[in-house]
Amino acid sequence: MTVTVLYFAWLRERIGLGREDVTTEAATVADLVDELKSREDRYAAAFADMTTVKVALDQELSSLDASLAGVREVAFFPPMTGG
């Protein structure tokens, strides 16, 4: 399957892009993260400490162990600092 993956704030800066389409067989978010980390150092650096990374699936907050079945958009970002 192909999912759109979005990166925000310092994740976007470390990875060097804000958006990419990824073709993957990953079953869960964690599997997708592992796959990205194994690709290139900049992903490994960005995802080094997953306690500071949040994930949204199709624009709803989710978690690392969530399934990617049927998901079209995955977003990674640090804890929010709005307001």
Binding site: E60, F77, M80, G82, G83
Partner: protein, 151 residues
Amino acid sequence: MAGSAHLRIVVTTDDFDLGAEASRLESGPDTGAVVTFTGRVRDVSGGLKHMEIEHYPGMTERALTEIAEKAARRWSLSAVTIIHRHGSLAPGDRIMMVATASRHRNAAFQAAEFLMDYLKSRAPFWKKEVTEGSSEWVSARDTDEKSLTRW
């Protein structure tokens, strides 16, 4: 359902007019109380050139609408407004506002505090402080996440 509350959600690079926004909520014979909160860019350590606010278009509007609906289900509100800016802001600039209208003051105050607490840790905005020669992403505070537990 959010009852009959009128919800107004705005995500914009533009400044807003607090007086005009508050006036929108002052309608109907049964609105006795309007509470507004406005957040501004502080220059905490001195030397702030500007603040950059990034957001997640699409999810931002969804998250803010959900937060407003949640408040309107919980309290008897005639209207809820949430406005949040993104882009580049100078020290002293308004960042965002929430406003709530209700019959009584307690509902309006509580709903406004609830909106702020949820917005801080559930709406996808990220702030970066840019000073002369460096820039730093603002860290989320543990207290922001903890303040949700009171609701």
